[in-house]
Symmetry: C2
Subunit: 198 residues, 2 copies
């Protein structure tokens, strides 16, 4: 029962921080909404920052597990890379979608040295690593470059889904990803002169 209470706190904190923001959410409000007293919170976590870090670690784990499983269902590596954007479409369609928790966290803690910012950067790095692995397995000539580009499209889709006027940013991103993917396999040279490509 002891650890479940702590887990419940982290899960609820993740939800509320994600919904309302980090600075905007006070510990009193957290206590009121979760029904867990402040004393209990500060017994489990020395500070608000540590609770935020725990909430972000949970989000990192859950999100990557969810995303990677969705991608795996698509089968071969190349299809998995494209399937990421179908998963994004599902995510964006959720009623309580409010952008990416790590983008929000790094916005509120802009100092790169800050633990919260660093953890957010690590989350993105882990996503990159997965895409890089898949691109390598798919036999891409420049797997790192392809992974970076797909990640670019993913982040852009998230921002646009949250802030934009578009109907289907995940679909747009998928279309662009398909173009980029097919171009990446068409030519073996990884570095392209941009000027001549147009």
């Amino acid at each position: 029962m002891r650890p479940s209470k702590r887990d419940e706190l982290v899960r609820e904190a993740r939800r509320i921080f994600y919904r309302d923001g980090f600075h905007a959410t006070g510990m009193d409000q957290l206590a009121a909404e979760t029904g867990i007293s402040k004393t209990t919170m500060f017994k489990h976590f020395r500070s608000k920052e540590e609770l935020i870090l725990a909430a972000l670690r949970l989000r990192d784990q859950d999100f990557r597990t969810w995303l990677f499983r969705r991608m795996e269902q698509a089968g071969p590596p190349k299809a998995q890379l494209l399937a990421m954007f179908d998963a994004l479409a599902e995510w964006f369609a959720e009623a309580d979608f409010r952008s990416c928790m790590f983008i929000k966290a790094s916005s509120e803690y802009p100092d790169p040295e800050h633990p919260i910012h660093a953890l957010s950067a690590e989350h993105k790095r882990l996503l990159f690593r997965h895409l890089h692995d898949l691109a390598t397995k798919a036999g891409a000539p420049d797997p790192a470059g392809l992974a970076r580009t797909l990640l670019l499209l993913k982040e852009g889709a998230i921002i646009t889904a949250h802030l934009g006027h578009e109907a289907d940013p995940a679909g747009d991103a998928k279309t662009a990803a398909a173009t980029v993917l097919s171009a990446a396999f068409r030519q073996t040279a990884p570095s392209v002169d941009v000027a001549t490509a147009v």
Copy 2:
């Protein structure tokens, strides 16, 4: 002299909010760092929120003016679209670059109905409109789709430049943009079956 003081306040507020965040920056801190008293601030702006809105409006104006001029220097519409990513590279290289102020603002004010969020969305809409105009002038078969995709790459590059491990997200985005751009003009049908494109 009266309006200059107000302008100075807005300019400084823009800089400090951008650097430290909106909720994390108090009016007292703002007064201390700018040398302008709180009374003066609240004479010019009824609330902190109105000051934030003024700072964002200034940022919107300055950023679009700066970006569009940089793009114009590239010449014809198609080159202008690509030149956006060269401008981004310049921006990312600035010592005090800390992501996009409107992404940060919408992160801290996640409610879409909130004036700050709405203004941020409007900024992105104005960027889209400019890209759409250029894509139309360039004779793209699906100018709206092309504009959406290029904007996707732009936002992704911003996030990655702020949070990522990459050396040159603007360069990556430009390479991808060149691929997408050339593909957009190669085929006249705007809707592509993604599955067969791979």
